[in-house]
Symmetry: C2
Subunit: 481 residues, 2 copies
């Protein structure tokens, strides 16, 4: 499937000169994805989809440990459902795709392709929930959603994308809000430990919250250009959808009450985060937990050396048995070609195995994250590779964390903000809480508020970075994808 | 989530008196699914979706062993794509849902929701395939598809359903046709060993083949009412889509040639097959490999007997550790209530554990498939349960196979067909191969040709069951879902 000549296909734009083109090149040339025939759509090619499968498996395991069950709800939602929650319809109506016909017949009611499923799930919950015994109810679905976006980019913003959406129901506001916060921690765990991705987590401003939520919590990851990527959100919905869809339960005290809800989602956008937080001038750099291929073995001169051939196959079998996702590249191509090929694709560990290595009882390993090259004894090399994969994951996190921490700048004056942002930084700032200041900052600097800072203790002692009035919040402003 | 009073909810129609209502009752009351708000759509509730997750895992493992990789293609297909393959558009156009608007804006080109993805995947393959080195190419996607059906029933026929669709590409017709036949064997393996479902496999008639295929192979399973359920199909597509989408490769001989393709799919319909092939007057009966709960432990009098409570928890932990999907039902309900509850839901093994059992050093086990009740020593009960689950699976297959074999009737005269079908049988018949005879049989008996018989050796020695002319095929006719 690689196409005709990888030697040329491998060439990607300079990450420092043109980050945007670099991103697109990496997406396409490492065969993560391709453009679909309809503008704004994308195809997940096997290498990209395999990353998503790993993210799904890791997330699904954590959701189930949190007491969540999977279900599946119809993609087609009556248009009228969207109208029931005022903010919700306002937020989503402009970007929903509408089905009007089947064959040549016009439908009686227009249907929309789900942009998210609060409404249709709310409708079902009102049928299913009767009593306090039915609570809490925690369901999740893995699904495709459609949101028609004007400007699209692979993984980051496409008309259709893949995600999971959790929809949980509780008897009290406190329990629902707690669930939104707990799931934010689950997402952070996935980001940190599965994607080697440091994230800032906290509440979003009113302007940036989900249409229909009481509060939205987000996790933001810093990309290598200093822009932020919203990488997951959880919402405390209060009783907004309960009132819109009449979801009530008979409480222990014998009275009927509205339920309180939360919802939360992560999507294939996370693949974009991996690309842009870890990638470098040579292409992708994949964290071992999600790498479809964790180690590639490249025999050197196997055609002329049967021992190299035999040992390569032996090592392949041993690594596979040890649970490593390993590939033996026996193609009739030069070692240099293969090095480039797998570097572009971000394979964490490359193992070279040639006659000289064998004579010394070693193999040569090369780490994708640091480009370090070293030998290791062939005996015990399986354990060495397993250890190396762990080390790479932890090093990738540390590197990204160091980058993030060194690119957060305290900004107290509005006229410092432009330079900070242009320098690839997040702005750690105080803010009065007014929408007007957010709008002004957006107009002036193309930056938005991302999430509240974890430490709000001294916020009220400061002044708003924009209007100079008394501050209410400490918050991050950044340019964002 | 069970709703207020299971004692009444559990009542299902008599399977012998009203099979149709029995089916719907089982679907809804065992909480496998519910109706969606849009006519013809359904919701997969957690218990039903968990069965699908098990089927997915088992199928996906087999596909990957067959050299298939997963990918994901856009759901929205330009309407013009459907037009490119004449038979394909004729087959699907009447039932495709069409997206015309986003927000208030009309789209430039109408888009259809995929009823199947040969066209959009063909479009991508024409971009990706250049040379013989790119072949074979074997991709699969797990996806939702939309086919607007007039008459719908949960799992069997719904406007949206979940499935997998494999799309494979080869250099020769032989290799593509072989893939369709190999995948039919993979499906048969899943049916037999995962779903305990005997199936008849073979080629379909021209009338019953997939719109756009050269040949369709199907697997048909007999339901308890003697009707057939098409449970999976594989298609040899020849170069039909290659020509429609210009999918060519540069062969070793230096010339450009069209590729040859196959496609194959199984869907959530399989859950309907499980319900109708194994269910009985007490409700669902689930094959252990797909049962979300394989064993349920019901403590008897645990509230008054701490030893019962402790031993139940111990057994639960031991079974869980041994990999059994086990549930400990500690609800404050009578044992009789719980027995009904889990019988309706088809849990393969019920374990009762009371003071008397404990005193004798045993537990009482009850098999869902045979209703046999017996004691087994509490020491070693984990191994006994594992063995029992295997035995149940194999017994369920044997039972369904015996039912199928005893309900296939050789029919040589057209006027015998009605009685055979009314008696809940498949008709094993000879047929001239003419569409007219198929149409006549359908008009007269509401039966269709299902698949060719495995033994075609003497077909030409016989006469067509319908017109009396020389036969070409030995084939099954049956009423079908």
């Amino acid at each position: 499937m690689a196409g005709n000549n990888d030697r040329f296909v491998n060439q990607i734009a300079d990450i420092n000169a043109d980050y945007t083109k670099w991103y697109t090149d990496v997406c396409l040339k490492s065969e993560l994805c391709d453009y679909g025939p309809v503008k704004g759509t994308m195809v997940f090619r096997p290498y990209g989809y395999a990353i998503w499968e790993r993210i799904q498996a890791e997330a699904d395991k954590r959701f189930k440990a949190h007491g969540v069950q999977n279900a599946y709800f119809p993609m087609l939602i009556p248009q009228s459902f969207l109208m029931r929650e005022a903010e919700h319809v306002e937020g989503f109506a402009p970007e929903v795709a509408t089905v009007t016909h089947v064959g040549n017949t016009e439908l009686g009611e227009k249907l929309v392709l789900r942009p998210t499923s609060e409404t249709i799930i709310g409708n079902m919950y009102s049928k299913w929930i009767d009593s306090y015994r039915d609570l809490p109810l925690k369901l999740n679905q893995w699904a495709n959603v459609v949101r028609w976006e004007k400007t699209t980019r692979p993984f980051l913003r496409t008309s259709e994308f893949l995600w999971q959406e959790g929809h949980t129901v509780f008897a009290t506001p406190e329990a629902a809000d707690a669930d939104a916060l707990e799931m934010l921690e689950v997402y952070k765990d996935i980001a940190n430990n599965v994607l080697a991705l440091p994230v800032l987590t906290g509440r979003k401003s009113e302007k940036e919250k989900f249409a229909g939520a009481v509060a939205t919590y987000g996790m933001e990851a810093m990309m290598k250009d200093g822009k932020s990527l919203q990488s997951g959100t959880t919402h405390y919905l209060g009783d907004n959808f309960a009132k819109a869809f009449d979801i009530k339960f008979l409480d222990k005290d014998g009275t009927h009450k509205y339920v309180y809800q939360a919802s939360w989602g992560i999507s294939t956008r996370l693949i974009g985060a991996i690309i842009m937080a870890h990638g470098d001038e040579r292409g992708l750099c994949l964290p071992p937990p999600v790498a479809p291929i964790q180690a590639v073995i490249i025999p050197i001169g196997a055609a002329k050396n049967p021992e190299v051939d035999a040992k390569s196959k032996e090592l392949f079998a041993a690594l596979e048995k040890a649970g490593v996702r390993v590939k033996l590249d026996e193609r009739d191509q030069s070692p240099g070609f293969k090095f480039n090929h797998w570097e572009l694709r971000g394979v964490p560990v490359r193992i070279e195995l040639g006659g000289r290595d064998l004579a010394g009882g070693v193999v040569t390993a090369c780490r994708r994250d640091t480009a370090e090259k070293f030998t290791m004894p062939i005996d015990g090399s399986t354990e060495s590779v397993l250890k190396l994969l762990d080390e790479i994951n932890s090093n990738m996190f540390k590197k990204a964390e160091a980058h993030t921490l060194s690119h957060i700048v305290r900004v107290d004056k509005l006229d410092e903000m432009g330079a900070a942002l242009d320098g690839g930084n997040f702005c750690d700032a105080y803010w009065c809480g007014d929408r007007e200041c957010e709008d002004k900052i957006k107009d002036k600097f193309a930056a938005t508020s991302r999430v509240m800072h974890a430490d709000q203790s001294d916020a009220e002692k400061h002044k708003c970075v924009c209007c100079g009035k008394k501050a209410k919040h400490r918050i991050y402003f950044a340019r964002a994808y």
